[in-house]
């Protein structure tokens, strides 16, 4: 008994260390991007105003560039609109009826955005009272940025494309073969697209966009331009691309609501293993 007591006395620090590490590791294993984001939303409800002030100060010096970007975006959209409206076969009153639109857009501002970590998140100043909810996509201009994973009344947290857990599908702008989009956790200007079938006619310089498989992103949203390609085991391509979105200056973003999201995902969930 005395020996046991002496032994425990000698190693009790190590025992406490192992016990605490087991607790921390089990926390780490059980956490997911969703549980993490819920914590961020809770912290935001306390510090949201402060974070917003800090982010405003940071982006103040970038206002000129942001205004130029928004002006360019307006010009592109006006040109597109003019092209569409010249089509006399379309009933424009019906077209503009908001109840029939497949996607609707909610403007928002970024109040916090990280990009130096492995798993980055974006906090925006719109929440459930503004109609923002889980799985809506976040775009800057016409480029992909991330998607919402949780919302409080006035704020939402989105998973950034610069997050190693971010997943969606992509394809060459005029192609039919798709690949998996991901981030390597290092370079904030680059992402990867992997497992594109070898039959795809894909080249360096091609533009990669979102596919119609996604329930979160509208089809054709720009992701990046292919910079290098590698054929793996003579069966599929892995490629590295430079991203269109500049994550260092995110300010004005759009939240996209896909109206049929719940109908589509509910239908898919009925089939086991879909």
């Amino acid at each position: 008994m005395y020996r046991l007591f002496e032994f425990v006395k000698r190693v009790y620090v190590f025992i406490v260390f192992i016990a605490l590490e087991i607790l921390a590791v089990s926390y780490y294993q059980r956490s997911s991007i969703y549980t993490n984001a819920k914590i961020v939303v809770a912290v935001n409800s306390v510090t949201g105003g402060l974070q917003e002030e800090i982010y405003d100060m940071k982006t103040f010096f970038l206002l000129r560039n942001e205004n130029e970007r928004l002006n360019d975006e307006i010009a592109v959209l006006r040109n597109k609109l003019a092209q569409f409206e010249s089509d006399s076969t379309v009933n424009w009153t019906e077209f503009y009826d908001s109840t029939t639109l497949k996607y609707s857009y909610i403007p928002a501002n970024v109040v916090n955005n990280s990009y130096v970590k492995q798993n980055n998140y974006i906090t925006i100043n719109k929440g459930t009272v503004d109609g923002v909810s889980e799985s809506m996509s976040i775009l800057v201009g016409e480029n992909i940025v991330g998607y919402v994973i949780t919302s409080s009344e006035n704020y939402s947290v989105g998973i950034s494309l610069l997050n190693t857990n971010f997943k969606t599908s992509g394809q060459e702008i005029n192609g039919k073969y798709t690949g998996a989009i991901g981030w390597n956790g290092v370079d904030i200007k680059k992402a990867t697209i992997s497992e594109i079938p070898k039959y795809a006619e894909i080249n360096v310089g091609d533009t990669i966009v979102t596919t119609n498989f996604s329930s979160k992103f509208p089809q054709g949203i720009k992701i990046g331009v292919i910079e290098s390609l590698e054929l793996i085991n003579a069966t599929y391509y892995n490629a590295e691309m430079s991203l269109f979105a500049d994550f260092t200056t995110l300010d004005n973003v759009s939240i996209v609501n896909f109206r049929d999201y719940y109908e589509k995902t509910e239908l898919e969930s009925r089939i086991e293993g879909y």
Partner: protein
């Protein structure tokens, strides 16, 4: 009691600086400034080892909540709390081991303090990076990120602890 309040103030200051200032300095994707370990670094030489472990856990939990990385910082800072006495033994004169003084550059000597600091920061960034990535892909780029972040964060911590030298000389030795 006074000392407890001083360390509590130090803890709040470090967390506040990290959250308000350093989490918002994002110059490049290769640089991640972390100053949380400064709190564990500056705990008195003779801090009880069990207290070190629990303070590591509290600091880790705080960092995890702020950084949205549940568990990662807790694992790393509990580990730092465990290895800190061994590191101090490596870099400090034996007569300081049981001292209630604060391990700052003025007490340890600039060279010893920098070695102690650099090893702690390197361990922090290696563990945080690989626990978040869980892959060895892009290893060289990850190592570059670890190195840049370690050097810059260590230098920032070095300059942050300089004012404490004076305080330490006046009150804690």
């Amino acid at each position: 009691m006074v000392r407890f309040i001083e360390y509590l103030a130090l803890y709040i200051l470090i967390v506040f600086l990290q959250m308000i200032l350093f989490d918002n300095i994002q110059i490049t994707g290769y640089l991640n400034i972390i100053i949380y370990p400064l709190f564990l670094i500056l705990l008195p030489f003779n801090t009880n080892r069990i207290i070190l472990l629990f303070l590591g856990a509290v600091l880790g939990l705080t960092a995890d909540i702020i950084s949205c990385s549940f568990g990662v910082y807790s694992i790393v800072f509990i580990f730092l709390g465990f290895v800190r006495p061994f590191l101090l033994r490596l870099f400090v004169k034996t007569d300081l081991e049981d001292s209630p003084a604060m391990p700052v550059s003025g007490v340890m000597g600039a060279a010893s303090f920098l070695q102690y600091l650099f090893v702690i920061m390197f361990l922090t960034f290696v563990s945080v990076t690989f626990l978040e990535r869980l892959t060895l892909d892009y290893l060289w780029v990850a190592m570059l990120k670890i190195l840049v972040s370690t050097v810059v964060s260590s230098l920032i911590i070095y300059f942050l602890q300089l004012p404490l030298n004076k305080l330490n000389k006046n009150t804690w030795i």
